[in-house]
């Protein structure tokens, strides 16, 4: 090979090696980036008035006159929406207006009886009322505008009749006028389509039984059972999505035979072209902000709040507490064991078979898959040990933390061992030369000097077990459930929650920010712990180098 090709190959190699590291960095960014970006939405977002209402009702937070005033303002802006929809409904919702006509007839009869009208007069008026009702119903049912006109005009002739003035029967004429108005503008053959489309529009604006709408349920109406359906879009990004859905109807079409369906969109306003509802589209686009009052919100209470309706609202407070409980309790078990073992391994060195077996065990333990620790925790701690200690043999915080303690034992031993080894021999010699015993020397000199290193190891172990999921699946972590009241109850944790919210929860899928929020909280917790460990470690290095 000549020199040129050798040089070129060498350069290619260097570039490739460099690329591998670039790839690593890209992977890190590619993994963390999208998750952190979307997860940050759980805390930072444009909160609407609906969010503040929800916070007031569900979390007893921030209710005040200012909020009442804000709600009043937004309701003011929404009134137009309600009236546009109601007007339109009168034109197309045949059952509803027919019902209304029937009701007026019934009420009018009662009214007459109540007034004590003479029998003949009563019979006559009842008959006329019934005629009007029938005419109206015929008009409502008809699809021919001329027929409708004649019917309605004959109804409206009675409008000036003093017999009906000031009675409930006046409702007939209002119905008739409204319907005539509406019927002039709509294609009567499309009644059913209008009705279906209107239902969709109402679903988007006021929510359905499945999901909340843009503005939330109309005031005064019956409240749906789920709390999540009591509110409109609590977040501006949600609102924007709903606005888009409101503006464009989506449907799937078969673009080419045997190919997957493709999604198409068409402006929804076109469906209502020429009707009294058409202005609604313009109005909502123009006044969305007035109706919702979005405002930049830092929802830091996300880290404290419990969730509502399977993470649709609220935060990850109980998960954080559960994670900390399990990990801290686990550390309480593992730290003394780990430090003592490390001290023994460093200070009482003897290269004999006992030591070799201990070392081998530690290495084996470090390699055991985490799920096997889960099996072990279940089989030993929960099913074997607990009944013998008089505890109930069921998954609980204690079982989970013991399992995690066992899992992190090798990490803790290795870290403490390294920390104790780093303490300069001269410290020990100094102490021994003053007549201290070996034990005394360890307690008063070696251990304090190794403490920062041991703390680093502790934090690393902590961050390791905070993220572990598999070992606690059957030993104490649950996905949903009340806050634990003692260590003998299972708890929710961030890790178990991250799994649950990703695959087990239908409601949470409607709120990706909460899905991502949970896992990002977990990652942040762990990275913060790691950063602390790194800072501590570099401090120790500096300190030890200083001498």
């Amino acid at each position: 090979m000549n020199l040129r090709t050798r040089g070129a190959l060498d350069r290619v190699f260097t570039v490739l090696a460099g690329l591998s590291v670039v790839l690593l960095t890209l992977v890190l960014i590619g993994v963390l980036g999208p998750m952190v970006y979307r997860g940050s939405g759980a805390v930072l977002f444009g909160g609407t008035v609906e969010f503040r209402k929800m916070q007031r009702d569900l979390f007893k937070r921030g209710g005040s006159e200012a909020l009442d005033a804000e709600i009043a303002q937004t309701e003011e802006a929404r009134r137009e929406v309600y009236s546009l929809i109601d007007t339109f409904r009168k034109g197309i919702d045949i059952e509803a207006i027919s019902d209304a006509a029937r009701r007026i007839n019934r009420d009018f009869g009662e009214e007459l009886r109540f007034k004590g009208v003479a029998t003949e007069r009563y019979t006559e008026l009842r008959q006329r009322s019934r005629d009007i009702r029938d005419q109206l119903e015929a008009a409502f049912a008809s699809q021919d505008i001329n027929e409708i006109r004649t019917d309605l005009e004959s109804v409206l002739q009675s409008a000036d009749d003093p017999a009906f003035k000031g009675t409930g029967a006046e409702g007939y004429f209002k119905l008739a006028k409204d319907f005539l108005n509406a019927a002039e503008q709509v294609d009567l053959s499309k009644h059913h389509e209008y009705k279906a489309s209107l239902q969709e529009v109402e679903g988007i604006l006021f929510g359905s039984t499945e999901r909340p709408g843009l503005l939330g349920p109309r005031p005064g109406g019956p409240l749906p059972p789920l709390a999540m359906l009591h509110y409109g879009a609590t977040r501006w990004d949600q609102a924007r999505q709903l606005l888009h859905q409101f503006k464009y109807r989506q449907f799937w079409v078969e673009a080419e035979p045997n190919a997957p369906l493709v999604r198409r969109e068409e402006p929804r306003a076109a469906l209502f072209a020429g009707t009294s509802l058409e202005p609604l589209f313009g109005y909502i686009q123009a006044n969305a902000e007035k109706m919702l009052h979005p405002r930049f919100t830092v929802y830091w209470q996300y880290f404290l709040d419990d969730n509502v309706d399977s993470h649709y609202f609220g935060g990850v407070g109980p998960e954080i507490i559960g994670t900390l409980l399990i990990t801290v309790l686990g550390m309480a078990f593992v730290v003394p064991l780990g430090v003592i073992a490390a001290a023994y391994l460093v200070e009482c060195t003897a290269d004999n078979w006992v030591m070799r077996i201990i070392r081998m065990s530690i290495n084996t333990l470090a390699g055991v898959p985490s799920i096997v620790f889960g099996l072990f925790g279940l089989a030993f701690f929960i099913l074997f040990l607990f009944p013998r200690l008089g505890f109930e043999p069921k998954p609980c915080i204690l079982g989970a933390s013991m399992t995690l303690a066992v899992l992190t034992l090798p990490v803790m031993i290795r870290a403490s061992e390294e920390a104790i080894r780093m303490v300069p021999q001269s410290f020990k010699e100094g102490s021994l030369a003053l007549g201290a015993s070996k034990f005394r020397t360890f307690v008063t000199v070696t251990f304090p000097a190794a403490l920062p290193g041991i703390l680093t190891g502790m934090i690393l172990s902590l961050s390791r077990i905070a993220g572990e999921t598999a070992p606690i699946l059957f030993t104490g972590a649950v996905w949903i459930g009340p806050m634990a009241k003692s260590v003998f109850e299972p708890t929710r944790t961030l890790s178990r929650g991250s799994y649950g919210i990703a695959v087990e929860d239908r409601l949470a899928m409607m709120v990706p920010h909460n899905q991502y929020g949970m896992v990002v909280t977990l990652i942040l917790l762990i990275l913060v712990l790691n950063a602390m460990a790194i800072v501590l470690r570099s401090r120790v290095f500096k300190k030890l180098k200083g001498q």
Binding site: C348, V372, V519
Partner: protein, 326 residues
């Protein structure tokens, strides 16, 4: 000497010298104390030994009813895993193959990148660049597996489905990619350690003979560090085979062996995912039951990691010896 310093201390020993010899009582006390203390520490230190022992005993114990009452060849060679059927069948071959399949696939991605990165960090860049890159590796190692699984199922799976036209995004490829990322930090740090442990003389000898960096790395460094690199790969394999959350979330959990064998776009199922997914629903009843079968799967898993552990130890100790020689 114009400083006026007075020696202030009188040696106390002159007044009442403490005896240099132990009294018999002190002697006995010291002896017993030292031995008791040591024994106590040893006992605490042996917790890890005890735990390994207990893991073996308890996981095996729970699987004994199954292993004793079920046809072992059927367990290991049948592909029929129907634990909840009326006439249940526990053929774990699919699961075993799935575990190995996805781990090997992960290594195929991770090993070249990992070794290149290890070489890059130990042979090519300055100490400063290394200090910048190391945290990247450390963060990759610190991200918990459930977060990787979350990423796999919610970010990577839709992306794969959209860009590669797979029928499902949760498949062997997805799991293997994520496992590769998770195995990388192990491979890089162990590999880098073993390369850095080689003496400088070795490289200098090669460079002084006019070799380029590539030639030095390929012909001298990697052969010299091969034990450590093999250990790195084995440890990476261990990490991948024992991983639970990622494979559970990303692999699709279909009880099948991919056919054709190289088709990574099919869903598979591993031992770990099966245990994690089914243990919750498996009732605690005696005899050949779903639960004892899952423990038996755990035993296989445990055996595999113990074997891998022994292999890695062997290569690590060889690497240590090799480094000691140069």
């Amino acid at each position: 000497m114009d400083r006026d310093v007075t020696v202030a201390l009188e040696p106390a020993a002159e007044a009442s010298p403490r005896p240099l010899a132990l009294t018999p009582g002190e002697d006995l006390l010291g002896f017993v104390g030292a031995y008791l203390g040591r024994a106590l520490l040893l006992v605490v230190t042996c917790t890890s030994v005890l735990v390994v022992f207990l893991i073996l005993v308890f996981v095996v114990l729970r699987s004994v009813p199954f292993l004793g009452g079920y046809d072992l060849t059927k367990f290991l060679a049948s592909q029929d895993w129907r634990p909840t059927a009326d006439d249940p069948s526990f053929g774990a071959l699919t699961l075993i193959v799935g575990s190995i399949y996805v781990s090997v696939a992960a290594l195929v991605f991770a090993v070249p990148v990992g070794i290149l990165a290890a070489v890059f960090l130990s042979e090519i860049v300055s100490w400063k660049v290394r200090n910048v890159v190391k945290p990247v590796v450390e963060i990759l190692a610190a991200i918990p597996s459930v977060a990787y699984g979350f990423f796999a199922i919610l970010v990577l799976a839709p992306w794969l489905q959209e860009h590669f036209g797979f029928t499902t995004g949760t498949n062997a490829l997805n799991a293997a990619l994520i496992l590769a990322v998770m195995a990388l930090p192990t491979i890089i740090s162990v590999g880098e350690d073993s390369i850095s442990a080689l003496g400088r003389e070795l490289r200098e000898a090669s460079y002084s003979l006019g070799a380029t960096r590539l030639e030095t790395v390929v012909k001298v460094v990697i052969p010299a560090a091969h034990s450590g690199l093999i250990a790195a790969v084995v440890l990476g394999m261990m990490r991948a085979i024992g991983e639970t959350m990622v494979v559970w979330m990303a692999s699709g959990n279909a009880t099948q062996i991919p056919h054709p064998w190289w088709d990574l776009s099919q869903s598979i199922r591993t031992m770990t995912a099966t245990i994690a997914g089914e243990m919750g629903e498996a009732p605690d009843i005696g005899g050949v039951s779903h639960r004892s079968a899952l423990f038996a799967v755990g035993v296989i898993l445990l055996l595999m990691t113990v074997v891998l552990n022994v292999i890695s130890e062997y290569f690590l100790s060889r690497a240590k010896k090799a480094a000691g020689k140069t």
